[in-house]
């Protein structure tokens, strides 16, 4: 029953998307805008189909209907309810279902928002693009990634989710957050294609979709931080970011998306960089598809990768299509659509944003290069090599410094032109903050040129951001915290916290493995004391067995364990982390073949600042999405180079 309804819904969705795309294409080519009204119905059909498919799978999971192969392979009767729900996106076919459902959601919102303007070719092209993408994902589920396959002899019970995914409730939310980000970029991409095709780049459409981009970007940021947090808490090696190909796949669209968020402000103010922004958006979307390909095709080995299936070539093909269409459109139309303005001076906010774009583009290039380099080398001379942390860390460190520097400068730079005097006045307090940060960090034990320089630059950047916020709140009260610039400053503060945490935890990490024979033995590391207090065994409600090691850390007991999942036939480590604002102590049990207990202890400073910074980024994004008082969303602001009646942002002199 589930299989029938589910597959039927998927087919319906595909048919609806196909119909909608076809109707939209015909409407555009034959110049009959009235036909677009039918497309709204098709969208409704698609959304209905997606909801039914999603609900059907959840129903199958929650009722433990093992006649559905996906449930038989990934479900289990005793899995806690939250994880059962999350099993929908815990494996490959289900993840495509989640992607499609979210895409249908975005399609619905876009159609609703523009429901009175469907006879505008821009909207028509955008809807066409989105429907084609939706059609592709439904198509994947019709064929190689079908979650609704009948199981001939349903088993009595299944193995359940990968134990690593069941360690923490937060992990259940990581994919939906991430997908809200990835999939969200489809909307600005659709409008970018529309703008390139119709040639209407100067009317503020991209500015309008800026809000969509920011929304998607916010979720992507939060999803990435959540993933890092899970990796840290669950894997127990003390790290939170391994430059793993799947992690990089999520990071690449974030980098180009961040570049876009900044350069679109230049387009709003000065009407410039129109085609560059369109290219950035298309690149961001293409990178989300590339990332999906890398994680689902088995081309690059990764511990996060989904199981291999046949969808790799299809995703690569889709990526190729996107690349061809985008490059073709930009090559054909780009020069005719370029803006005519120019910038007065590199020492201006526009200049800082341009530099920001160059640096982020370079950053994305470095990450992409490192990720695919093993493939390139293998294609060139057949050698198998690996590229890991050593490469990425060394390359991204200077980039990080430059970005901190730009974050310090940009908020104090006015638009158009700045004088040295102006900068000198505005940067005094941020400079003081930077020096204070360096001194304080050294008093607290920091050493080494690179980390201290990082702390100093972070201090200056934080000073600039805080200065802007303080001035804005003094002028406008609580409204000084919302809106694009102020929300952006809060996001900057979050990023700065993350940068500081990254520098501190990487530079000052201490690790040791302690062997304990008898309770009462103790050891020290980095100012903490560890006393072995014995062992324990706890059997949980869902059947997992925790073999715990009791360690008293600075007076309180922690219970890292080796957890056996008998139903999945696996044993994984369950580390314990004691976090504080100063440092994190992480304990994990190393399996041994004899009776000696081996505990690996990792002490890192400032790890909690990562999660605080991530939360600030999310909060800042939400603040930035609050509409300002002044601007109408569709006011044409990307006017030619002559200054128009756009109200300049009040700049304190």
């Amino acid at each position: 029953m589930h299989v029938l309804i589910g597959y039927g819904a998927v087919s319906l969705g595909f048919a609806g998307a196909l119909l909608g795309a076809g109707t939209a294409a015909y409407s555009l080519l034959s110049k009959q805008p009235a036909l677009m009204r039918a497309v709204k119905l098709h969208v409704g059909l698609v959304v209905f189909a997606a909801v039914v498919a999603f609900m059907t799978m959840e129903s199958a999971l929650l009722t433990h209907d093992f006649s559905v192969r996906y449930v038989a392979e990934h479900g289990r009767i005793d899995t806690p309810v939250l994880f059962t729900i999350a099993t929908l996106w815990g494996a490959l076919e289900g993840s495509i279902l989640l992607w499609t459902a979210i895409l249908a959601g975005y399609l619905l919102v876009v159609t609703w928002r523009f429901r009175t303007r469907t006879d505008d070719p821009m909207v028509a092209w955008a809807l066409l693009t989105m429907l084609v993408v939706t059609m592709f994902f439904f198509g994947l589920m019709l064929g190689p990634a079908n979650p609704f396959i009948e199981m001939a002899n349903p088993p009595a019970d299944g193995p359940g989710l990968n134990p690593l995914l069941q360690n923490n409730a937060f992990m259940a939310f990581h994919p939906p957050m991430l997908y809200l980000g990835y999939v969200g970029f489809t909307v600005p991409f659709a409008f970018a294609i529309a703008a390139l095709t119709t040639g209407r780049v100067g009317e503020g459409w991209l500015v309008e979709t800026r809000r969509w981009t920011l929304f998607a970007w916010g979720f992507l940021s939060f999803g990435i931080v959540l993933g890092a947090w899970w990796s840290y808490e669950t894997l127990g090696w003390g790290g939170y970011w391994a430059w793993d190909p799947v992690e990089n796949a999520s990071f690449l669209p974030w980098l180009t998306g961040t570049a876009f968020i900044h350069s679109v402000m230049v387009q709003e103010r000065r009407g410039m960089l129109r085609v560059w922004n369109l290219s950035l958006i298309c690149a961001t979307f293409a990178l989300t598809i590339l990332g999906t390909f890398l994680t689902r095709s088995g081309v690059i080995a990764s511990v996060h990768a989904f199981s291999d299936s046949g969808i790799g070539p299809l995703l690569l093909g889709f990526f190729a299509v996107i690349v061809v269409v985008t490059v073709g459109l930009v090559g054909w139309r780009g020069d005719a659509l370029r803006s005519v303005g120019k910038m007065d001076s590199p020492l201006s906010r526009e200049g800082a944003f341009l530099a920001n774009n160059v640096v982020f583009a370079a950053f994305a290039f470095v990450v992409l290069l490192g990720t695919v380099w093993p493939l390139i080398i293998e294609a060139v001379n057949g050698d198998r090599i690996a590229v890991g942390n050593p490469f990425f860390d060394r390359m991204t460190m200077p980039i990080g410094f430059v970005l901190l520097f730009l974050m310090a400068m940009a908020p104090v730079l006015p638009w158009r032109k700045a004088s040295g005097e102006l900068l000198g006045d505005r940067l005094v307090w941020p400079a003081v903050a930077g020096i204070t940060a360096m001194v304080v960090s050294m008093l607290l034990g920091a050493a080494g040129f690179a980390p201290v320089l990082a702390f100093g630059l972070a201090g200056v950047a934080a000073g600039s951001a805080l200065r802007q916020l303080v001035l804005a709140t003094k002028r406008q009260g609580w409204r000084g915290l919302v809106g694009r610039t102020n929300g952006g400053m809060v996001v900057h503060l979050g990023v700065i916290l993350i940068a500081v945490a990254f520098a501190a935890s990487n530079s000052y990490l201490r690790q040791a493995e302690f062997r304990f024979d008898e309770p009462g033995q103790s050891a020290q590391l980095a100012g903490h004391e560890f006393i072995f207090r014995g062992r324990d065994q706890v059997v949980a409600a869902d059947g997992r067995i925790d073999n715990q090691v009791l360690v008293e850390v600075d007076g309180r007991i922690e219970r890292p364990a080796l957890t056996i999942f008998p139903f999945a036939g696996r044993t994984i480590g369950t580390p314990q982390t004691r976090g504080s604002l100063v440092d994190d102590v992480q304990l994990s049990v190393i399996p041994t073949e004899d009776e000696v207990v081996v505990v690996r202890v990792t002490v890192q400073p400032l790890v909690q600042w990562l999660w605080i910074g991530g939360t600030m980024m999310a909060a800042g994004t939400a603040l930035a999405l609050v509409p300002g008082r002044r601007r109408r969303p569709t006011a044409p602001t990307s006017a030619p180079a002559v200054e128009t009646d756009v109200e300049p942002e009040p700049v304190p002199v």
Partner: protein
């Protein structure tokens, strides 16, 4: 004479530079053998795990390799010797640091080249803008613009 602002900045600069100079002289806690084991472990890939380093992985072979690294560090072997031994046993691909020579070494150079190219392009774009700014408007141009603006619907 120096303005007050310049004086302030001179002091700030001096303070910043001295702080940085001090930072190079400070030493953190002494580097123990365990620290060396950890940093070496990050440079080698675990042979059976997809792409994880020996430091990250919980696999049995990763733990064994860490133990072996610890044994060699305690014996006093240098980083170079430990690396050579592991590469001799496993293969070049266990080393996560791309070699510096040959095609593989390009990976270190390409990003630098791209960055230089990017900033160079930016600089030339700015120069082009500045050069075109050098033209000033003639009286006819001003009159033309004024009359066109009058005609423009608001």
């Amino acid at each position: 004479m120096f303005s007050r602002r310049s004086l302030v900045w001179l002091c700030l600069l001096a303070a910043a530079l001295s702080a940085l100079a001090v930072s190079t002289q400070l030493e953190g806690p002494p580097r123990t053998n365990e620290d060396r084991v950890r940093s070496l472990s990050e440079d080698f890939a675990c042979p059976t795990c997809d792409g994880q380093s020996v430091a990250e992985s919980n696999a049995v072979v990763a733990e064994e390799i860490r133990r072996e690294i610890r044994r060699q560090v305690d014996e006093g072997q240098t980083d170079r010797q430990i690396t050579d031994a592991l590469v001799a046993s496993y293969d070049e691909s266990i080393d996560l640091r791309p070699r510096s020579g040959g095609v593989v070494g390009l990976i270190w150079i390409v990003p630098v080249v791209v960055m230089v190219f990017g900033f160079g392009a930016l600089a030339s774009v700015f120069r082009r803008w500045r050069l075109t700014e050098a033209q000033s408007a003639s009286a006819e141009d001003v009159e033309l613009v004024r009359s066109l603006r009058e005609d423009r619907p608001t």
